[in-house]
Amino acid sequence: MNVPAAWYLVVGALLFGVGAYGLLTRRSALIMFMCIELMLNAVNLTFVTFSRTLSDVAGQASVFFVMVVAAAEVTVGLGIVVAVFRRRASTSIDEMSELHG
């Protein structure tokens, strides 16, 4: 018998939280992306867990789509980082605070 779904859900929530905390505290845009990936993984874990408990494949299908989105986001995001880096030679998000007020 597998462990209760709740356990995995809690792990998912924690993973989501860790990702969010990282997003708030890391300055490197690249690491922030990774944190978003962590959060999306938390989502995937949650989907799969619910898919199991509901005995419904739709959750797994959703995971599939989330993965695609993650891939697409990373592609674009890294493109932006590259573009920004060319201009500023830095990936620190804190240095980008000229627009404010």
């Binding site: 845009a29 992306f33 949650t46 989907f47 619910f50 959703s62 989105v69 986001e73 573009a83 007020g101």
Partner: protein
């Protein structure tokens, strides 16, 4: 095992096909063409696609009128007046912003079809959001829209602000997307489906004694939407991004993103979670109050017009949310009316901002507008009218937009909220007018600093002004359409 391919209603899909098809055609054509692709041809394609979609929406409207609303492709999409109206507004906004972008691209010497490809694809994403009947599909539409926008915001590589804005937008947008899709996962867990109709059906059939999971999911979905429509405190990205993005893109964001986001928001909150109204309305109440007030107040001290308009747009978003909060037929119609009229007005406003921005897209300080109406009376007057409409001055369409949502809010017992919104409108009136006055003040600029208004921009500005004034005098048909659009999916 046979695969039961779901039935596909091609008429319903046609707008998305046309937009994405046009994007593909442009991409392929530009790849194949030997020399640089003519900007005029690219714009024409986009305009043609938009017109085609508008025509299609007319056909769709009449189809739905005769055959009723349906869902299609295994209930992934809805085909009803609501989505059709939203689609039409998106198409019209696309048309206008393409014209603005055309002039901008020529001035900034931006080559290629990329802008149009991305804008069309992003608009297709917005249409997906407007038609989606499934949380995952909404998520995908949202991402199509967002990814396109991230790139568009970063488009102007001559301005540092552009890339800064893009990065901020991307990071925060990615964060918001994650939150949104986490919410979708939780709702899926709570209801067993990601399909809006199924969720609504399930919640209609079952009373959740312990709805914590659903609430958590719903809240996260709401936050995801709040980010997209820039509701306080999830708004912070928008002033920076509005300011940093190339100006035509700002207009695009202020219009099309709002249409898509509000269409999906309404569907999720009112269709899927309509039964949970008592839970989400207080949250929305607080968001609206904060959004209206913060948008109006902070705009008071802005010196950059694009930032000012960003805060103004935050304030406007508060009003649009007011219709959602009302959660009644009037409210939905009001929000649709609001969004539909705000879109052309705001695009026209940004068309003027684009024009005045000049080569390099950098003259956006309010100081730069001093005396504009003296140098160029028609341009200045047009901007004044557009501002008045956003302010909600009577005899402009903005008045009826505010009126429509306030009526709904009061009908739903939101007297206090309506008063807060009205108060914010009074504050907003202050900065709109002060700015409008700047246009008419004397300035050091001489006539040499007149700006050229290219032909396409003239069209856009004229359309914006006509919408503002014409519907301001006679809002009848549009109000009726907006009301009609709500009939088929709400009780």
């Amino acid at each position: 095992m046979t695969l039961h391919v779901p039935s596909i209603h091609y008429l319903a899909l046609l707008p998305i096909f046309i937009f994405f098809g046009a994007a593909l055609v442009l991409m392929v054509a530009s790849a194949l063409s030997a020399k640089n692709f003519s900007p005029r041809l690219a714009t024409s394609t986009t305009v043609l696609a938009s017109v085609a979609v508008l025509v299609v929406t007319i056909a769709q409207w009449s189809y739905v009128a005769h055959h009723g609303a349906t869902t299609t492709i295994a209930h992934a999409l809805v085909f009803d007046d609501f989505s059709i109206l939203a689609t039409a507004v998106i198409a019209a906004s696309m048309l206008l912003s393409a014209l603005v972008a055309h002039d901008w691209a020529i001035r900034e010497r931006v080559v290629g079809v990329d802008y149009h490809v991305l804008a069309l694809a992003a608009s297709a994403g917005a249409m997906v959001m407007a038609q989606a009947n499934d949380l995952v599909v909404i998520f995908l539409g949202l991402e199509m829209l967002s990814l396109g926008l991230y790139v568009l915001v970063a488009f102007d590589r001559h301005r540092a602000a552009s890339s800064e804005a893009a990065l901020k937008y991307f990071l925060l947008g990615g964060f918001a997307s994650a939150i949104f899709v986490y919410g979708a996962a939780l709702v899926y867990g709570a209801t067993g489906s990601t399909n809006v109709s199924s969720i609504a059906y399930f919640l209609g059939q079952n009373i959740l004694l312990r709805p914590g999971l659903l609430y958590a999911g719903g809240a996260l979905l709401l936050i995801g939407f709040a980010f997209k429509v820039a509701a306080v405190p999830f708004h912070a990205w928008s002033p920076d991004v509005y300011q940093g993005a190339p100006t035509p893109v700002t207009g695009f964001m202020a219009s099309i993103v709002k249409v898509g986001a509000f269409a999906a928001l309404i569907r999720v909150l009112l269709s899927a979670l309509g039964t949970q109204m008592d839970t989400w309305r207080p949250i929305l109440w607080a968001l609206i109050a904060l959004t209206c007030l913060l948008g109006a107040v902070v705009a008071l001290v802005q010196r950059d017009l694009k930032r000012l308009l960003a805060y103004s747009s935050i304030n406007q978003a508060g009003f649009m949310l007011l219709g959602v909060w009302s959660a009644n037929v009037r409210g939905v119609a009001g929000t649709m009316f609001y969004v539909a009229t705000y879109a052309p007005v705001v695009i026209a406003t940004f068309a003027i901002v684009t024009v005045v921005g000049g080569v390099g897209d950098e003259h956006h300080s309010i100081e730069h507008y001093r005396g504009l109406a003296r140098r160029q009376p028609w341009l200045g007057a047009a901007l004044a009218v557009l501002l008045l409409s956003q302010l909600g001055a009577p005899l402009t369409v903005g008045f009826y937009a505010k009126y429509a949502v306030l009526v709904a809010a009061l009908d739903a017992g939101g007297g206090a909220l309506a008063l807060i919104a009205l108060l914010s409108a009074a504050i907003a009136a202050y900065f709109y007018l002060r700015f409008a006055l700047t246009l008419y003040e004397e300035s050091d600029h001489d006539d040499a600093s007149r700006v050229a208004v290219p032909r396409a921009s003239v069209v856009v500005i004229a359309v914006g002004v006509i919408v503002a004034v014409l519907f301001g005098l006679w809002p009848g048909p549009l109000a009726t359409w907006a009301q009609h659009a709500t009939l088929l999916f709400l009780p």
